[in-house]
C-alpha cells in the first residue's frame, strides 16, 4: 500500500515495513553482525551463504563503518557510520525486480509519481574476490539501492546465483521524509531525530578515526588478525577465520583514515586482506563440499 496521503515513515518504521515485507516473502529476518565492517556484504549471511548450492533467503540491517567518510557531523550527507538494509535471495527469484519495486511502494514511493530507473552498475569487491552484474536503482536521479546478481564470491562461481539488494536507508529516509540534512531525519514518530541519536557519535568517532586512534596498535591488530585467521584455517574453523578477515579489513580502513598507509603500500594491504577472505571462503567451501555434492549432484559438476 502506498502511503502518499499519510505522513511519511520514520526511519525505524521504514525498517519495520521492510522487515514485514521481506518476512512475508519467506526471508529470515536476521540481526546485524556484531563486528565492525564496511558494508553489509561482509555479513556471513551474505558472503559465506552466497557460496554453495543451499537455498538461502535473508534480510537484515547492517551498520556500516567507513572511517574515511567521517565529516565530524558537519556534512549533511556523509557519515562514517550508517545503515544498510540487505536482502539476499538464493537462487535469485524470477520476479526479483518486481519484489523490489513492491518493497519501494511499501515504504511510500509511488512509481507513477517518482521516476524509478535501473541504471547499469556492475559490482566488484576485490578484497572479497567477488563480482556481479546489476544496476544502481535511481529514484528521481538519486541512487537508492544497489541491485546485484552475484556471479563470483571468494573467487568461486556462484552456483546458483544469488540476488543481493542493498538499500541505503538514510538516503531513502531522507528522500521519503523530504529532508535535506541527515541529522534532521525523524528516527521515530515521538520526536527523536537521527541527530539526537548519532550526531555526537559522528563528531567523536570522526575525531578518533582521523586523529586519535593509536596507529601502532592498529598495525599490531592487523598483524594479529592475519595470524589468527591463518591459525583458524589450520584448525579447520573457517567461519572464525573469516571473522578475522573482516577484522583485518576494518583495521586497514582505519589505518587509511589515519593517513599512515602510502599509495604503494595500499595495494599490498588490500592483497593481504583479499588473501584472508579468499582463504576463508575456500576453506568454508572445502568443509561443506561433500555434503553439498551428495545433496545436489548437479552442483558439483
Amino acid at each position: 500500500m502506498a502511503d502518499t496521503d499519510k505522513a511519511p515513515l520514520s526511519l525505524q518504521d521504514m525498517i519495520l515495513r521492510l522487515h514485514a515485507f521481506w518476512s512475508e516473502q519467506g526471508c529470515l529476518i536476521l540481526q546485524p553482525y556484531d563486528m565492525r565492517m564496511g558494508a553489509g556484504t561482509f555479513h556471513t549471511a551474505t558472503t559465506l551463504r552466497a557460496l554453495g548450492p543451499e537455498p538461502w533467503n535473508a534480510a537484515f540491517v547492517q551498520p556500516c563503518r567507513r572511517p574515511t567518510d567521517g565529516r565530524y557531523g558537519e556534512n549533511p550527507n556523509r557519515l562514517q557510520h550508517y545503515y544498510q538494509y540487505q536482502v539476499i535471495l538464493k537462487p535469485s527469484p524470477e520476479n526479483l525486480q518486481e519484489l523490489y519495486l513492491q518493497s519501494l511502494v511499501e515504504i511510500g514511493i509511488d512509481p507513477l509519481v517518482h521516476d524509478i530507473r535501473f541504471v547499469e552498475d556492475d559490482w566488484e569487491s576485490p578484497t572479497l574476490g567477488a563480482w556481479g552484474l546489476g544496476w544502481e536503482v535511481w529514484c528521481d536521479g538519486m541512487e537508492v539501492t544497489q541491485f546485484t546478481y552475484f556471479q563470483q564470491m571468494g573467487g568461486f562461481d556462484c552456483k546458483p546465483v544469488a540476488g543481493e539488494l542493498t538499500y541505503g536507508l538514510e538516503r531513502l529516509a531522507m528522500y521519503i521524509q523530504g529532508v535535506d540534512n541527515v541529522y534532521d531525519l525523524k528516527f521515530n514518530n515521538h520526536g527523536v531525530s537521527y541527530g539526537d541519536v548519532f550526531l555526537e557519535n559522528e563528531k567523536q568517532m570522526s575525531k578518533w578515526n582521523f586523529e586519535v586512534a593509536d596507529t601502532d596498535s592498529l598495525f599490531e591488530g592487523f598483524r594479529r588478525a592475519e595470524e589468527e585467521c591463518k591459525r583458524s584455517l589450520d584448525a579447520g574453523v573457517p567461519i572464525a577465520a573469516y571473522e578475522q578477515a573482516i577484522e583485518a579489513s576494518h583495521l586497514f580502513n582505519l589505518l587509511q583514515a589515519r593517513g599512515v598507509i602510502s599509495v604503494q603500500e595500499r595495494a599490498s594491504y588490500m592483497g593481504r586482506v583479499r588473501d584472508l577472505a579468499r582463504g576463508s571462503c575456500e576453506a568454508y567451501m572445502e568443509k561443506n563440499a561433500d555434503q553439498w555434492a551428495a545433496k545436489y549432484p548437479e552442483w558439483s559438476k
Binding site: V113, H114, D115, R117, P160
Partner: protein, 719 residues
C-alpha cells in the same frame, strides 16, 4: 511471403550496449537465414532498455527443395567399392544413376517450413549472442553451463505471419505475450503479428523504435529549454543514453540554486552530465544557466513536479560537494599543494610528480636560449603545473586536470599568462584540439610532453604495436604540432639530452634515447604531414641527410623539395640523378670522400686527403673542387665541359642557399644542372674505351650525385 517478428525481453539492458546488440541481432539472424538458404526483404531492429526486437519482411513460408548429387565409384570398379558406396548413402543399386561410367546417388532434400527453421534458429541466436558482459541467474545457475545473457532473459515473442514459432530456451518459452511499460502498463499484451507490434506497444507506453525515442529526447529537451527562455547545450551522447534508459522518455526542466554558478561551469556541466545524465542550458548571452533537463521514464501523475524536485535535490547535493571542493582547494595556494606531490608516484621507474616539477623548472632554463618565450611566467607555471592533481576537485573529476589548475591559479591571483600556461599544458589533447600559441603555454605544453617522452623512452617503456599505455604517440604528435605550428626553432636532440640529464641529476636511471626518439618523431611527422599532403619519401630524403633535428627547418626543406620535384626540371633532374646513380652502382664506383657523399662505398680517410678539400667556406668550394677533380689530360667534349661548368657554379650556390635556409634557391641551383646533365647523357659516352676518359667521367657523375645530396638524399625519393 510473410513477415516475422522476434522480441527478446530482458531485465534492463545497459544503455551503452544497445546499439551493439541491435547490430549483433541482425547479423546473427542473417547468418541463420543464409545457412538455411532463406532470403528476407527488409530487416528492422529496435531496442529499448527491456527488449530487443527484429522484424524481417517478406520471408518465404518454406525453404526451396534441393537435390544433391553424390559422386560414387566408377562403374568398372570392383563390387566392394559399390557396396561401400551403397552403405554410405543408404540406397540400393537400382536407385543410383550412372553417367560417363561413374555411379551417382541423387538425394532429394524437400523444402523445410520456415517456421521450423526459425524455431531452431532462435535458441541458436540467443546462445551465440556476443554480449560484452553476461551473467547467469536463477535456479538453473546451479550449473555454470546455464544460459548467459546480459541480464536475466524474461520472455520471447516469435510470430511468423500470425503463427507462433514455438521454441524454448532455459525455461523461457516463446509466446504471443509481451509486456508494456513497467509502471504504466505492467500487465501482459498479446501481439498478433509484426504489423501490430509497434502500435500495440505504443498504446502501452512503450516507444519501441529507439530512433523515435532519440528524436523525442532531442526535441522535447530543446523545447523545454526554449520554453524557459534558454538554449539547450546539445549533446548527442546524452540523447542516445537517455533514449537507452527509457521506454517513454519525458524530458523535464528544473532549476538549481543560482549560487552554485560560482563553481566553474565545466564542473557543473560534468557533474550534471556524467553523474546524472542531465542536459545543461545557456542563457541568451551564452552563459551557463542555473537549469538542467532530466529525462524521466514516466508521464507522472503530478506532471513531473515531484521528479523535478527530487532531481534538483540530487544535483544540489552534488553541486554542494563540488562547491565544497572548490572552496577547500582555493584555501591552499598551488605552490603549497605542490608539496604533496612528493607522495604521488609518476611511474615506479621515474620517481615522483614532485621531481617532475623540479625538472620542468630546469627545462624552462634549458629552453630559454632557444625560445624567445616569456620565461619568468613559464617558470612560475612549471613549478605548479601538476599541483591540481592533489586537489579535491581533480580527485573527484580527473578529467578536469589542468583546467582546475588554471582556475585555482587565477583565483590565487597569479598572472593570467601563468594561469593559462597551467591550464593549457595538456594541449593539444587530440588532433582536433587547438595548439597553445602564447609563449608560456607553449613552453609548459612542450616540457610536460618532452619530459615524459624522454623518461619513458629512457626507461625502455616505449610503445609497442597497438600498446601505448603512456600515450607517447600523442605526446610526440603534440610536440610536433607545438613546434611546427608555432615555428619554434630548436634542436630536438639537444632538448632530449638536456631532459635526460635532468633525470640523471635526480639519480633516476634514464638511458639516452635521443636517436630512438628522433626516429619516433620522424615517424609521427610522416603520419601527421601525410594529411597535409606532404610526401613521406621526401621527409625521408631530408632526414636521411642526418643531423637535422630542427623540425621547422626540416619541413621548410621538405616543402621546397616537394615543390621542386613537382616541376619538369625536378622530374628530369631526379631521372638524371637515378641514371647517374645506376651507372655508378653498376661500375662499382667508390664515392669520392671529398665529395661528402654518404652513399655506398665511402672510402675511410687515410690522412693523405687534400686539406683544401675540407675547407667548408662555400666560396672556396669551387677551388677545392678543382683539386678534387683535377684537370683531365684529354680534351673534354662540349657537353662534358658544360656539366663541369654548371657544377662549378651550382655547388657553391646550393651550399650557400642551404646555409642561409633559402631552400627554394637551393632547388633553383639544382635546377640549373638539369639541362647539362640531360645533354651529358645524350652526347657523352661514359663507358669510353679510353680508361682515362671513363674514370674521369665516372668521377664527374659522382660529383653531380654528391652535389644533389647536399640538398636532399634523392635516392629516397620515389618515382
Amino acid at each position: 511471403m510473410t513477415d516475422f517478428l522476434l522480441e527478446l525481453r530482458s531485465e534492463e539492458i545497459p544503455a551503452r550496449m544497445q546499439a551493439g546488440a541491435r547490430a549483433d541481432l541482425e547479423k546473427l539472424f542473417r547468418k541463420q537465414l543464409d545457412a538455411a538458404g532463406l532470403k528476407a526483404g527488409d530487416i528492422t531492429v529496435w531496442s529499448t532498455p527491456r527488449r530487443l526486437a527484429l522484424i524481417a519482411r517478406d520471408l518465404p513460408l518454406a525453404t526451396e527443395a534441393v537435390s544433391e548429387e553424390t559422386k560414387g565409384p566408377k562403374t568398372s570398379a570392383p563390387e566392394q567399392a559399390l557396396e561401400g558406396f551403397l552403405r554410405k548413402t543408404g540406397l540400393t543399386k537400382d536407385q543410383l544413376t550412372q553417367r560417363d561410367g561413374v555411379w551417382f546417388a541423387v538425394t532429394e532434400k524437400p523444402g523445410r517450413a520456415t517456421k521450423d527453421v526459425l524455431a531452431e534458429a532462435i535458441p541458436a541466436i540467443i546462445r551465440a549472442f556476443p554480449w560484452p558482459k553476461s551473467q547467469r541467474w536463477g535456479a538453473a545457475s546451479l550449473s555454470t553451463e546455464s544460459l548467459r545473457w546480459v541480464r536475466p532473459l524474461s520472455g520471447i515473442v516469435a510470430i511468423l505471419g500470425e503463427d507462433l514459432v514455438e521454441c524454448e530456451i532455459s525455461g523461457v518459452k516463446s509466446g504471443y505475450a509481451t509486456r508494456g511499460h513497467r509502471f504504466h502498463c505492467p500487465g501482459e499484451i498479446t501481439i498478433g503479428s509484426a504489423s501490430d507490434y509497434a502500435e500495440k506497444l505504443r498504446a502501452c507506453h512503450v516507444i519501441v523504435d529507439h530512433v523515435e525515442r532519440e528524436a523525442m529526447v532531442r526535441e522535447k529537451a530543446k523545447a523545454a529549454a526554449e520554453a524557459a527562455g534558454l538554449v539547450l547545450v546539445e549533446d548527442e551522447g546524452l540523447v542516445i543514453e537517455n533514449a537507452g534508459l527509457t521506454e517513454w522518455p519525458v524530458p523535464l526542466l528544473g532549476r538549481f540554486d543560482e549560487a552554485f554558478l560560482d563553481v566553474p561551469p565545466e564542473v557543473i556541466q560534468l557533474t550534471a552530465r556524467v553523474n546524472q545524465k542531465y542536459f545543461i542550458c545557456r542563457d541568451s548571452a551564452g552563459k551557463l544557466a542555473n537549469a538542467f533537463v532530466c529525462t524521466a521514464n514516466i508521464e507522472a501523475k503530478d506532471g513531473g513536479a515531484a521528479i523535478v524536485d527530487g532531481n534538483r535535490k540530487v544535483l544540489a547535493a552534488r553541486l554542494s560537494d563540488a562547491r565544497f571542493f572548490w572552496e577547500q582547494d582555493k584555501k591552499k595556494p598551488l605552490a603549497e599543494q605542490a608539496q604533496k606531490l612528493s607522495r604521488i608516484t609518476f611511474h615506479e621507474k621515474l620517481g615522483t610528480v614532485a621531481q617532475r616539477h623540479e625538472r620542468f623548472v630546469s627545462l624552462v632554463d634549458d629552453l630559454q636560449g632557444q625560445l624567445s618565450a616569456s620565461v619568468p611566467a613559464a617558470k612560475q607555471a612549471a613549478s605548479i603545473l601538476k599541483s591540481d592533481l592533489v586537489t579535491e576537485m581533480v580527485g573527484e573529476f580527473p578529467e578536469l586536470q589542468g583546467l582546475m589548475g588554471g582556475y585555482y591559479a587565477e583565483a590565487e591571483g597569479l598572472p593570467l599568462n601563468v594561469a593559462e600556461a597551467v591550464r593549457d599544458h595538456y594541449k593539444p589533447a587530440g588532433q582536433a584540439d587547438a595548439v597553445p600559441s602564447e609563449g608560456p603555454s607553449i613552453v609548459t605544453a612542450l616540457i610536460d610532453k618532452v619530459d615524459a617522452l624522454v623518461g619513458f623512452f629512457g626507461a625502455d617503456l616505449k610503445p609497442t604495436g597497438s600498446k601505448d599505455p603512456f600515450a607517447l604517440r600523442r605526446a610526440a604528435l603534440g610536440s610536433i604540432r607545438l613546434i611546427t605550428e608555432n615555428n619554434l626553432r630548436l634542436s630536438l636532440g639537444q632538448l632530449f639530452n638536456a631532459a635526460a640529464q635532468l633525470y640523471r641529476n635526480q639519480s633516476i636511471a634514464v638511458e639516452n634515447a635521443s636517436e630512438d626518439l628522433l626516429a619516433f618523431f620522424a615517424d609521427r611527422l610522416k603520419v601527421q604531414q601525410r594529411e597535409a599532403g606532404v610526401r613521406h619519401d621526401l621527409i625521408d630524403a631530408v632526414f636521411a641527410l642526418g643531423g637535422e633535428d630542427d623540425l621547422v627547418r626540416l619541413l621548410a626543406r621538405v616543402h621546397a623539395l616537394q615543390a621542386f620535384v613537382g616541376t619538369e626540371d625536378g622530374t628530369n633532374l631526379l631521372a638524371g640523378y637515378k641514371r647517374a646513380a645506376n651507372i655508378l652502382k653498376k661500375e662499382g664506383f667508390a664515392a669520392n670522400p671529398n665529395a661528402g657523399s654518404e652513399g655506398e662505398g665511402v672510402v675511410p680517410p687515410t690522412g693523405e686527403e687534400d686539406p683544401l678539400a675540407l675547407v667548408d667556406d662555400p666560396a672556396l668550394e669551387g677551388v677545392a673542387a678543382q683539386f678534387a677533380h683535377p684537370e683531365c689530360n684529354y680534351a673534354r667534349e662540349p657537353a662534358e665541359q658544360a656539366l663541369v661548368d654548371a657544377l662549378n657554379s651550382a655547388e657553391p650556390q646550393a651550399a650557400g642557399a642551404v646555409a642561409a635556409e633559402d631552400f627554394t634557391a637551393a632547388m633553383a641551383a639544382l635546377a640549373s644542372l638539369r639541362a647539362p646533365i640531360d645533354a651529358f647523357f645524350d652526347q657523352v659516352t661514359v663507358n669510353d674505351a679510353d680508361a682515362n676518359k671513363r674514370s674521369s667521367r665516372l668521377a664527374l657523375l659522382d660529383r653531380f650525385r654528391a652535389a644533389v645530396h647536399k640538398v636532399a638524399d634523392f635516392s629516397r625519393i620515389e618515382g
